[in-house]
């Protein structure tokens, strides 16, 4: 479904990604792991069009989408939930969600869709009129994911959804991610929390300073000694 071919990207002279090759098949959950500054977010930015790669190509369902404007890429069905819960703080929960459906032309059934979304996120349903900025961290993350779902993505890319959340909430978030996936949305998940990410994912890639150093089946990676040592902590 998604294919990155020899992607290299730069911020000025800083080389953020070098010759990344990556594939996501339809229906999969794929995790992208790595230390701070490894280039995980940059990879997602390249896919969603926020960062133009210097070399290489991105293919989505056999279309070359390299260098397209972000809004066109959204039309292709790729939705990126940026890191740091970038919800719109001054807008209400409902308005935030409406923005999610911004690109969807037929506005007839968006109310149904809202109800649908609130089923996933009951906590948000009681807070429809509350300003996004006044939600708790966990609620904001839920809102960010919910907003992404409003766009009816085929590929949903989440950047560190568990960042800064209590373990119980993290569990909820991962449950929701699994549920979304089971309803047919393909998922590319960036995470620091490698344990959790490898548990939900089918496959995973591990980035180190802009290069992919390991890749494979999530289960295999979870039991790989080198990976364990570097990313999962010795207590695993």
């Amino acid at each position: 479904m998604l294919k990155l071919h020899d992607i290299s990207a730069f911020y000025g002279n800083i080389n953020a990604l070098s010759k990344i090759n990556l594939k996501v098949k339809k229906g999969e959950i794929v995790s992208l792991l790595g230390a701070n500054g490894a280039g995980k977010s940059s990879t997602l930015k390249v896919i969603s069009g926020l960062l133009e790669p210097r070399e290489g190509d991105v293919f989505f369902r056999d279309n070359k989408i390299t260098g397209m404007e972000p809004e066109i890429i959204v039309d292709h069905g790729i939705i990126h939930i940026p890191e740091g819960r970038q919800i719109f703080p001054a807008l209400t929960v409902e308005e935030n969600l409406k923005i999610g459906a911004y690109r969807i032309r037929k506005s007839t059934d968006w109310r149904d869709k809202l109800d649908n979304i609130f089923e996933y996120f009951p906590a948000l349903s009681d807070r429809r009129q509350q300003k996004g900025g006044t939600l708790s961290g966990g609620e904001q993350q839920m809102l960010a994911i919910a907003r992404g779902l409003m766009a009816e993505p085929e590929l949903l890319m989440l950047d560190e959804p568990s960042l800064g959340l209590a373990p119980l909430i993290v569990k909820d978030i991962f449950k929701i991610i699994k549920k979304i996936n089971s309803e047919g949305v393909t998922i590319l998940l960036v995470e620091q929390n490698a344990n959790m990410a490898l548990k939900v994912a089918n496959r995973a890639y591990i980035l180190e300073t802009g290069e992919i150093v390991h890749s494979g089946n999530a289960k295999d990676l979870a039991s790989d000694e080198k990976v364990k040592e570097a990313y999962l902590g010795s207590t695993h």
Binding site: I79, P82, Q86, E95, I99
Partner: protein, 341 residues
């Protein structure tokens, strides 16, 4: 009861009712002469500055873009009105619309500049444009008549001349009414939400498929249109347009109106315009303080500092939040306060 509820659930009614009351008062004034003619002139200023503040608020409050050169658009609108009505004798409506549309084209150009510059740099660049434009207006003699300024006469609609200030107040109030309702619908539409999304988080907005290119241009174009229209009202009201009016002080006054009244709020825009027109006048009549030269600049600056320090949401929103919302909640036992725009 049902009446209050309607109000609380849909702020739209608040604006319709507020506008209608305003128009009715002005209409009664027309019949009975309620206000002193000095007050009528001040009210006209409040009306056209309200249009300015609403336009500027779309840019700053809703879209999160700064401009310190918007006085140029107002001046341009005013000169266009004088030029069109003096040379082509067009009526009020086509003149005021052209005086909005032509600055709007220049608004788009400024928007293109804004695509390359952000925040502080944008503020500096637009301030530069604002300072330069004063000279342009001075030198562009065939259009502006240079230092002598241009005169024009009061507008006419279908042969009816609005010669009397009271008549003109009614006319401009109706324009403000239309502007308010249009703006209310705009900010609650998809476009309005996209503007706010761009302000809150450019990256997230882009990731949701919102084109920053498109909405920056829309924000600058719309605000230039509003400010141009206000300039047209200014020209008709004062019947004289002079180049020194359109300097940086006016642009800073626009900023002050929006900050003092309330960012991202229509009611706040009108409040801010009222504040900037009335407060200096009231103070001028005071003994001692009123004699200080440039007292209005000092007052505006002081008011901005106080508002930012003590009620950063602006006077209007603060009042709404402190008194009006609690009133609704108490009266109706609502646990869900209705939001303002």
């Amino acid at each position: 009861m049902a009446f209050f509820k309607l109000f609380n659930n849909n702020p739209y009614f608040k604006y319709i009712l507020g506008s209608i009351i305003f128009v009715i008062i002005v209409f009664i004034d027309l019949q009975l002469g309620l206000f002193a003619s000095r007050t009528v002139n001040l009210l006209i200023r409040v009306v056209y500055f309200s249009v300015v503040a609403i336009g500027f608020n779309i840019l700053l409050g809703y879209a999160g873009q700064i401009s310190l050169g918007h006085a140029a658009f107002m001046g341009f609108g005013a000169y266009l009105t004088a030029f069109i009505s003096n040379n082509y004798g067009l009526g009020f409506l086509p003149t005021i619309i052209l005086s909005g549309l032509i600055p709007m084209v220049f608004g788009v150009i400024l928007g293109l500049v804004a695509l390359r510059l952000e925040r502080l740099y944008l503020a500096i660049a637009t301030l530069g444009i604002g300072v330069t434009i004063e000279f342009v207006f001075r030198e562009w003699v065939w259009f502006t008549n240079g230092f002598s300024g241009v005169r024009l006469s009061r507008p006419e609609i279908f042969g009816f001349a609005f010669n009397n200030s009271r008549h003109f107040l009614l006319l401009s109030t109706i324009i403000l009414f239309i502007v308010i309702l249009f703006t209310y619908n705009l900010i609650n539409s998809k476009t309005g939400r996209a503007l706010s999304a761009m302000r809150d988080s450019g990256h997230a907005a882009q990731a949701m498929g919102i084109s920053l290119f498109k909405y920056k241009l829309i924000a600058f174009a719309l605000s230039a249109f509003y400010v141009g229209i206000a300039g047209s009202l200014y020209a008709y009201a004062e019947r004289y347009v002079h180049p020194s009016t359109w300097g940086a002080e006016l642009s800073l006054d626009m900023l002050a109106m929006v900050v003092i009244g309330g960012l991202a709020s229509i009611g706040g825009s009108v409040t801010g315009a009222g504040f900037l027109v009335f407060v200096p006048r009231l103070v001028q009549d005071l003994p001692l303080i009123g004699e200080i030269t440039n007292i209005n600049f000092i007052l505006t600056g002081l008011a901005m500092i106080l508002v930012i320090r003590f009620m950063p949401i602006g006077i209007y929103n603060w009042f709404d939040y402190k008194f009006i919302q609690p009133f609704y909640i108490k009266r109706l036992n609502l646990n869900k306060p209705g939001g303002d725009d």
